[in-house]
Amino acid sequence: MSGEKKYITDIGPPHYREMVHPVLMKNYGKWRYHEYVAPGIIKHVSMNGDEVYMVRAAIPKIVSVYFVRELCDIADKYSDGYVKFTSRHNVEFIVTDKNKLDGLLRELRERGWPVGGTGRSLKAIIHTQGWVHCHTAIIDAPGLAKALYDELYDYFVRDDLPGKLKIAIACCLNMCGAVHCSDLAFVGMHRKPPVVNDDIVSRLCEIPTLVASCPTAAIRPAPEKKSVIVNEERCMYCGNCYTVCPGMFIHNPKYDCLSMWVGGNAVAGGPPEFSRLAIPYLPNNPPRWPECVQAAKKVIDAWIKNAKKGERIGDWIKRIGWERFFTLTEIPFTDKHIDDFIFSLPTFRTTTQFKWR
């Protein structure tokens, strides 16, 4: 007989029945309506009249176990030992006793956790890990997110923007964040082809997979050295080869940069839209990326000034046209803005009907 305990795997996540606040469980599937009480506070009312207040606060992307325990202390005190997180990584406290709201808000204020992010406000920024974890990160998304948040703080704790403002940041073209469908987004970019390290390629990489990884067929085998050659003119610096093979070193701090994208959205009320290129080059300038923050500010200011109530950035641009967008924001339009990769034809203007400015 072995004294070893059984090796357990594949238990899956904890069951939601043990994780959901009992009052939410009691009214499960029986909710009647919700209403906005104040920025960051939504009241949910069930068919039998039960009321809960969901209080939304922002937390940094990287936190310590101490922070999580503090969060638990607050939840034990004000929301009966239960919390939830939103799909944009805010925390929500579930308050069943209205009299506890003021205390909770005071405590969150004292700790400096912003309460907001509901209705027509800045939503929490969706972003990637950056230099704290990732080998393909060109920029540090957590740092840029913090710099943007400091500048746009008021838009999170108020709800008087023309529409929702969803921002995303991706450290590289792998785009682990929701950059392709956000109102405003930044992406870390390379501007030089990879430098092939024949030794690493020949030892660690599967050549056919590496050749196939290139979307523009810029990589071909070099059998004599068990490596590959890059046709540099065809390379569009996507970095997919580096993801597949560490011998295709593509980081180049001297030339790496950021790009800014606008007008995407992924919700109902009309077909979703992709984010489109606004600024092809912004310097990678840590620790606070001032050029990126100012570029975001410029677009957001123009949107606030010119949009109708209810219009997100993409709705606003659709109404006024891209030619007017570039006029109003004073962003220069360049050859980089005209698609020459794939699916480009539907973006070409096939009519004489356009605005002059």
């Binding site: 606040h21 176990v65 974890h133 913090k146 948040y149 196939a212 990678n284």
Partner: protein, 392 residues
């Protein structure tokens, strides 16, 4: 003199700082301090100092742990192993503080103490553990009821909105579907064997709060087939309070609402379930009763053939427990993709390459006008030999 002058700049300002959080761990764990110092160095040099992943993991699993090593020499980075564990979150990101505290204790014991709540796909991210800590950390996680999520060429950790736990719009039991599908696919999540990643997200209504249609290979979105339900008394109540009901009707994209000053009427066959009127008048309008899901396929970010938005492959399907039809369809799609895709080809790219015609045949779904904005505008379509016999 601070050891992290550049990162210190990110402790300024009103928004809570991740640098402050990292410093709290760095103050008690030399291992965590090493990670912080390497981050500072990246800020100075404007480049990452992580190498390509290595093969690390826990016994019996192929995914769930991301191997990570520093590229700095050992005299600079004494602890070069900084692996990450992806831990599957409970459905809808609901937690008891009891469970969260246990998680903190395990992670403080075995790792850096840095956590993301949550990562982009939805997992709890435990950021920074040495190779020797991975197995004991995993076993302790299992003992407190948590398990790993997905990574690499596997079904990634699913995610879903809070659904019926607090939202009146949820047309399906998102939490239960998340949990049931996750349990059904444990092997596919934990043992990578597919051409690339496969993401599944479940949203309770067309508002799609988890952005399933943009971010999931398989988007399961709650919807209804009959009519929205309008409480006329509540509409008049809104009108009395000064809400412009005529404007709400005018903003209906398919012009399916009519307001005569007393009654708000809907033309059900014209409604496209965009949720605009429900959002404008939450006390007065609810989804219909004949509920199920629309299923969209192919959503993904740019790598490689550009960003794809998911498109309709099943306009409507019932989604009642035990979700047999949903599970069967998921397996059919996974099998077909596994059989036919090239390395690193997402399912949407595969369908784009071989055509919806072949895909629909493989999964046994009939074509429907709901799947396209418009029929094709070119005459180059295919006939199978069987069809040629039919039209003779």
């Amino acid at each position: 003199m601070s050891e992290t002058p550049l990162l210190d700049e990110l402790e300024k300002g009103r928004w809570p700082s991740f640098v402050t959080e990292m410093k709290r761990m760095a103050a008690v764990k030399p291992y965590s301090k090493n990670i912080l110092l390497q981050l500072e160095r990246s800020y100075v040099e404007r480049v990452t100092h992580w190498k390509h992943g290595g093969i690390v993991g826990v016994r019996g699993y192929g995914g769930g742990v991301i191997g990570r090593y520093s590229d700095l020499p050992p005299e600079v980075m004494q602890t070069p192993e900084v692996h990450t564990l992806r831990v599957a979150q409970p459905a809808g990101w609901f937690y008891s503080t009891k469970a969260l505290r246990k998680l903190c204790d395990v992670w403080e014991k075995h790792g850096s103490g840095f956590i993301n709540l949550h990562g982009s796909t939805g997992d709890i991210i435990l950021l920074g553990a040495q190779t020797a800590s991975l197995q004991p950390c995993f076993e302790d996680l299992i003992s407190i009821g948590f398990d790993l999520g997905g990574s690499g060429g596997d079904v990634r950790t699913l995610s879903c909105c809070g659904g019926p736990a607090f939202c009146q719009w949820s047309c399906i039991d998102t939490l239960d579907i998340y949990h049931e599908l996750t349990m059904e696919l444990q092997d596919e999540i934990h043992r990578p064997r597919f051409p690339y990643k496969f993401k599944i997200k479940i949203a309770g209504c067309p508002n799609d709060c988890v952005a399933a249609l943009a971010r999931a290979d398989l988007a399961i979105i709650g919807t209804w087939r009959d009519s929205i339900k309008i409480d006329q008394e509540a509409v008049r109540e809104y009108a009395k309070k000064g809400v412009n009901i005529a404007a709400v009707a005018a903003r209906c994209p398919p012009q399916a609402l009519e307001w005569d000053g007393k009654e708000l009427r809907v033309i059900p066959e014209d409604c496209t379930r965009c949720m605009k009127c429900l959002s404008a008048l939450p006390k007065a309008i609810l989804p219909g009763d004949d509920r199920g899901v629309s299923i969209l396929l192919g959503g993904k970010a740019t790598i490689l053939q550009g960003a794809f938005l998911g498109w309709v492959i099943v306009p409507f399907m019932k989604a009642d427990k035990p979700y047999r039809e949903l599970k069967e369809l998921t397996r059919k799609i996974l099998d077909w993709w596994d059989e036919n895709a090239k390395t690193r080809e997402r399912v949407g790219e595969l369908v784009y390459r071989v055509g919806m015609r072949n895909f629909l045949k493989a999964i046994g779904q009939p074509p429907a006008p709901q799947m396209v904005y418009a029929p094709r505008a070119n005459p180059y379509y295919f006939w199978s030999p069987e069809e040629l016999e039919e039209v003779k």
